[in-house]
Assembly symmetry: C2
Homo-oligomer: 422 residues x 2
Amino acid sequence: MIPAGLSLFFRNAGQLVTLSGRPVPRRGPDLGELGILRGGAVLTRGPIIVAVGRTRDLEADARRLRARAIDCRGRVVMPGFVDSHTHLVFAGSRVDDFEERLRGRTYEEIAASGGGITLSARLLGEASTRQLCARACHFLEQLAAHGTTTVEVKTGYGLSVANEMKTLRAIERLRKQSPLEIVPTLLAAHAVPAEYRKRPRAYIDLVARRLVPAAAKAGLAEFIDCFCERVAFSVAECRRALEAGLRHGLIPRLHAEQLSRTGGARLAIELDAASADHLDHVNSSDIRALARSGVVATLVPGANFHLGLRTYPPARRLIEAGAAVALATDFNPGTSPTVNMQFILSLACSAMRMTPAEAVSAATINAAYSLRRADRLGSLEPDKQADLAVMDVDDYRKIPYYFAWNHCVMTVKRGRIIYARV
Amino acid sequence: MIPAGLSLFFRNAGQLVTLSGRPVPRRGPDLGELGILRGGAVLTRGPIIVAVGRTRDLEADARRLRARAIDCRGRVVMPGFVDSHTHLVFAGSRVDDFEERLRGRTYEEIAASGGGITLSARLLGEASTRQLCARACHFLEQLAAHGTTTVEVKTGYGLSVANEMKTLRAIERLRKQSPLEIVPTLLAAHAVPAEYRKRPRAYIDLVARRLVPAAAKAGLAEFIDCFCERVAFSVAECRRALEAGLRHGLIPRLHAEQLSRTGGARLAIELDAASADHLDHVNSSDIRALARSGVVATLVPGANFHLGLRTYPPARRLIEAGAAVALATDFNPGTSPTVNMQFILSLACSAMRMTPAEAVSAATINAAYSLRRADRLGSLEPDKQADLAVMDVDDYRKIPYYFAWNHCVMTVKRGRIIYARV
């Protein structure tokens, strides 16, 4: 059955990076399998891809559908990026913290003097939903301009039931307004609010008894997340919050082993979480356990870059052990203020020694899998959603190679052109 | 006297980053002095800035000159970047080398199998001047789109008198065609050509006796540069080439102490070079000597980033000792394939702990000084050239903070708009 709607015909892709086929998620050597067609084409109708093949083989079908032809002139055409970890809804910026850190102040000192997540929480509390959405819309447009078509958005700067719910409502409004696909995650336990400083378990009680049920009842979140870290919440506290989420139909994700090894990766595996994110401090046994599990190892090297760290998550060891690796921007004002997934690919290669092919798989099909959308997103195949990006290079490897620059000239979501550069 | 020509009036800059005043170059605490005017304006006529001040104070003059008003709506307006170290004229790419390195092959192995500078030299030899210019033009447009208005361009992939002269002619053609200001440097000794492998001094003879006189006679170079390194040329060989340049009126610059400490920084000081570039391996005594000298320490952290190095040049120690520090992209296909000076500022901050203000000075006024153009370029002051960039942020610190994304919405060179984004 051919879906109704307008039809687009992307012809003459120099490299059509399809990522078609099995298995999903990609692991080990499969992570570098891109299914590239030279001189390839994609034919869409309405929001769906109806055919993928060589340009000459699809010309007749395209004419029959009266498709609008888009000549890709030898460029790379690939699935739109799936950015599976962002904190995109925030107020203000943390540029003061940035400068203070450069002048030698530590994260702890900055937090103690009112910066850090506390600052973001205060500013978010003062902002209206409308202000939050206006700002987030600007960032969503920038994400689209860099080739991203699906984005997970976390709450987490609320630090109270009321402000977390406000953030969820802002995300819901964005979901309705933006051409991008937005996946809402309740980051229920991000930092211990000041008034709970000496009794974090009491805040977890509040999360489990009030926040999670309210979010689930309103249908405003798909996933639940926690920050499992010495400076945030313990494994036991995160377990309690995530289990409350599970009882209400929210799928766990987890910030794990970022600043130190706390056992978060093990907790993610125990709860069959969709993803364990950061993972800078996993040990060999954690890596083996992740490789045996269905948990996606989501690496967010933008944070390491921005903080000027000399070390990065052990991508190669994870890949070689057979873990399913994804990449994301971690877009947030404190540690990773970037919307550019292309640059995350550059970091994956230059700083973590992933190959360009591994990085592309990690930022598309594996990220889609971690958002439980690999049946619809993350590859260019018939019957999948028509989400794609046209990159102004003739070789996909040049996307990470020519770094810190935007190669995207067209972004298509659900069969509609949502960004085009002349 | 007011110069003839069309007039532009940039009004309502949120921050007008003037970098006005002395001393030039900036050293130590002065490196962070940006001379910011809030609500500032710039009035140009023809290629020159005629006034800089508060918007309301310049309105009458702007009307008198019938200036075209450009409302900057609270954005940052700053001098165009001066990119004082690039290898912008090349053929092909080195994306194969990039992938091979990620797969674990060393630079030496890649070079031995026909990659590296040898590959770039072969491709450059095969390309016509026209092909070289077409490709370089694309990159110059990208530089302009990222806020750069002046760019130094080195030869160096020729590895023969004929191909070095061909590269200089390509640069000369670009200089006439491009709206950007192009500063030509003869990188006379970049790598030892295969046929001179066992007798690099014989190649230096050729450089000193034939290449340098030919380049100088044709008036095609302002500066002369060498790669002083164990894998390239010794201090004595570089001295010989640079002294030949000096005799023919070419000002020395030098690639120094990049991969190891060879004494290149001392040679640059001895010859009163305009700049010593890279400097990863300078020691404390080199740093003190640079601080006492007129040589600009040009740091190019893009190469460290792309090669995935864990260490960066000692920017803080150089600044604190009082050296004049500049920043540049080092745009080249082998080690730094980026045109984005904004990202070099991000690297300067995140990886080298420079403050945003220090990074801005280093990429404008100090870089202009190292190109012997600080009297005309690098700051927004009356009688200077009207070279500026409008950035879509309200605080200059957000240029490095929001990393790997292009904030430039307008670039002006010699009073003409050469790039504008809607």
